[in-house]
């Protein structure tokens, strides 16, 4: 199951979501609502005036994170049409963004609560999209649950192990942080199970990463996976040297280019998760692993590279390729030799 993580107001800092604002139109309604209720603008509170931003109230900053998180979610869903809806999981005031994105809470009420209004039960409505709170690992099944969760919003929990366990209890296999920055997954990564994928659509260190992911459609995209494997060939230093190994790496490059030329690898998420392309994924990941082995990387390093690949593509490549957690320790084809195929 894919879980979308919404951060709380701790994700606020001047400049968040600026690339989203400048390059997509999804934030329009949120900007209008924000201005109506705060008398300020997101431009002043977040994007273009650090001095004004610094003077903004805590409520305005919460409302800004809420608005921007919802905008990121809409952009994600428009770019990556999932075969089944994800579960929306909020932490702290991120619960409000999860509820608004799920259609369980009107935007105007969500902004009002972020600004300090007391939530009313009538503001919530049932929805088909599952919403949960990361802070207590509870799925909000009805409006009573939603009201209770919103009333319980306090200081964000930063117990990483507790939150990592909560993701597991909620049945999340792919956790994608969707709000501004990467305040949750970067903290949880060391605490989640090895098989759990933890991605972040936006990153605080480089806001261009969000644009890149959306433009290239990096998530759940098998064609990108094959191209990315070619990138891995170009992107890894050869620690070993020697003509034989170097020539073998050239052959891997030829195999990947051949695969790209001959296979109509799909770009749609539904196809990637359908199980119909297992053979291609097996080939791609086998070649990935072989490249690492030929260039002198340890099994642990190769596994780490595959985990990073999973986090950046949301594809459970080790699972799809039939590997265990440690592909090179229990390599199915270790004895056969991939290049012999």
């Amino acid at each position: 199951m894919i879980g979308i993580l919404f951060p709380g107001d701790r994700a606020y800092r001047p400049g968040i979501g600026r690339e989203l604002h400048e390059n997509f139109s999804v934030l329009g309604p949120y900007e209008t609502e924000f201005s109506l209720q705060t008398g300020s603008t997101l431009a002043d509170t977040v994007w273009y005036s650090e001095a004004t931003a610094a003077g903004s109230s805590a409520g305005a900053k919460s409302a800004a994170v809420l608005a921007i998180s919802c905008g990121f979610y809409q952009t994600f869903m428009a770019t990556f049409p999932l075969p089944s809806p994800p579960v929306l999981i909020g932490t702290g005031t991120g619960v409000l963004a999860a509820l608004v994105s799920a259609g369980a809470l009107e935007l105007s009420h969500g902004v009002a609560i972020a600004l300090g209004a007391t939530a009313q039960k009538s503001w919530f409505q049932p929805t088909d999209i599952a919403v949960a709170s990361l802070d207590d690992a509870v799925v909000l099944r009805d409006t009573d649950d939603m009201l209770r969760a919103v009333n319980a919003i306090g200081a964000e929990d930063d117990d990483s192990q507790l939150q990592a366990d909560a993701l597991t209890r909620l049945g999340v296999e792919i956790a994608l942080e969707i709000g501004p920055g990467d305040t949750i997954v970067s903290r949880l990564r060391p605490h989640v199970a090895d098989t759990m994928i933890t991605g972040a659509l936006d990153t605080s260190v480089n806001a261009q990463n969000f644009l890149d992911t959306v433009a290239v459609q990096k998530y759940l995209n098998l064609r990108y996976l094959a191209e990315r494997a070619l990138g891995q060939l170009v992107g890894t230093r050869n620690r070993v040297g020697g003509t034989e190994g170097e020539d073998a790496v050239l052959v891997i490059g030829k195999r990947l280019r051949q695969l790209l030329a001959e296979q109509p690898l799909p770009t749609e998420p539904a196809e990637a998760l359908s199980g119909r392309w297992t053979d291609a994924v097996v080939t791609i990941i086998d070649l990935w692993v072989e490249n690492g082995r030929l260039k002198g990387y340890s099994p642990g390093e190769i596994t780490a590279s595959l985990r990073a690949l999973e986090n950046s593509t949301l594809l459970p490549v080790r699972f799809l390729a039939g590997y265990g957690a440690e592909p090179t320790s229990g390599h199915r084809k270790k004895e056969e030799g991939i290049l012999a195929h």
Binding site: E22, A215, G231, V234
Partner: protein
Amino acid sequence: MRTDIADAVLAGLRDGTVSKEAAVTLLQLVKKESPIAVIGLGSRTSDSDDYHDVWRTVKEGGSRIRRAPLLRGDQIAAGMPPGTHGGPEHNAKGAYIEDIGAIDKAVFGFDDQEAAHLLPHAKVVLTSAFRAVEDAGHVGEAATRYRTGVYVGYNHTKDHLQSFLGLAMMTGAMTDPQAAIFGSWTSGIATRISRAFDFRGPAYVIDAACASSTTAIATACDAIRSGRCDVAVAGGFYLDFTPVKLYNRGGLAVTPDDASVTKLYDRRNVGMYTGEYSGFAVLKSLDKAIQDGDRIHGVIEGWGISNNGSDGRFDQNAPDAVEQAMVDLIRSSNIDVDDIGLLLGEGYAHPMEEALDTMGPLGAIRRFSKRRQFAALTALTPNFGYLQSAVGIADLTVMLQALEHRLIPPLPHFDTPTDLMDLVDSPFYVPTSLEEWPESPNGRRLGIIYTNGFGGANSMLAVSGAPAPAPAPAPPTGTDGADTTAIYCASASDPQSFAAKLEADLAFLDEAVDEDFAAICHTSATRQHVHDGHRIAITAGSRAELVEILGQHVGGELTPPGVYLSSSLAGPRGRRRAAEPATPAEAAAAFARGGSPDLTAFTAPPDRRMIPLPRYQLRPTRSWPVPVPAGE
């Protein structure tokens, strides 16, 4: 090269007293004797004047690319057609310096009128040069015995669209035409550095398009090796004075829209954004740097400047000519290509041009080694935008810190390689994450910087890490009866910077080791910029005593024993050199009064080492021509 020894070797070769093999070995050894040390770095980027931030951004795979500041739109408004400026939607995207009008007037001695009319290019350059010479400790007494040159790389093509002087005229702010014209004097970009620091060597601006700052550095290396100067402040800058969408449109590899991402060496490479940067390195021959106890960032082992001649188009590189130029560099520098761990390239994000830019170095390295994928290939364009004339100095700033930390920085956004060249079948790989920079089979780490400019200009540098520093002498004990008294000095142009400097120095001294006490005092007294406004000198026998006395002073005691303050001393003031003081107390008092006593003499030679002290707190204020109200 040391020509005296080289000439003797060549004479021996001619008369048969030196064998050919021995001559080659000797010449290589001689050549090795005089590489150039980089002893200081300074930079000015979007919101920082700290070169460590440049490395931090690159190391993390970060980006400084965003909408140009609204302030810039206000600053250039007078020169813009109606409807093309004012809102964020009018501003171009790139890595822009926040306020190009900011300058610390007190430090550089400008009055309001001069500062307002001073070319913003010169303001940015002065600030980064200040940081470089501060980092080198090439100021104060330490600099006076050397002839220092200034070499500034800069391409001003885009300034023809809208000059600062023209803008001032349109603003109606040319109330003082002489100040306006002098402030925009283009050679002043270099000579104002010489004036600010009393440097007496050559000082000029160099234009080699996008190879400008690399060419300035290479020219400075030539000047040091030839003896034209002893020390050089070399680097360059690029300002995109009018970063508005009206001018920064597609073409010349600019991205088609603001949602595009710079993807070098990638099949989805669609272009790049502009970046602004100013930076300098302080250069000195390695033997002198070692002798002077300089902190050495790294060594420039070789450099080359050439042109592609009639090969290629004006706006296109010519791989064969570049290959030959790089072969010349490799041979003349006596470097082993197998030592190359990182090549910082031009980073011009056009699919064909980046391939042409890469093929030259690729071909040159292949002539000497058939190994594949052993050297990282990257560039700074995804981090800082395309820095044009400043690419080389930014590359050097990153390369030296990569060597220092023994890390290869990642190239952001690269993931699906271009089909226009097969980098798997090349010496290069493109680093996608921060990784260790391993030693070569020869036990070395070597970096290459290659830049190319329109018109066929090539400039390249071969850079290695710093030699191991000499061990610090044993800490003074005072038990043998020797006098361990040292003089600590600080000064500032305004009271706030003075207080900030003393507090920062106190914290630094508190954490320092006793072995460095004398060297810290030596650095403070002889290797810091000397300001006239506020001065302090303290005599102390140990680090602990200095911490105690400085702490008392910072804590509010105006003149504890051992403290000499500019504000509390009577007597003749000024820089004139009186009779040389005989004791530390006399020297401290003379310094505080505004004199220039010889303070080097009070430090034993082994302790005459440069210890980087906390940076001076510059207090820049916004200085820009103010529109004259209508009717005046």
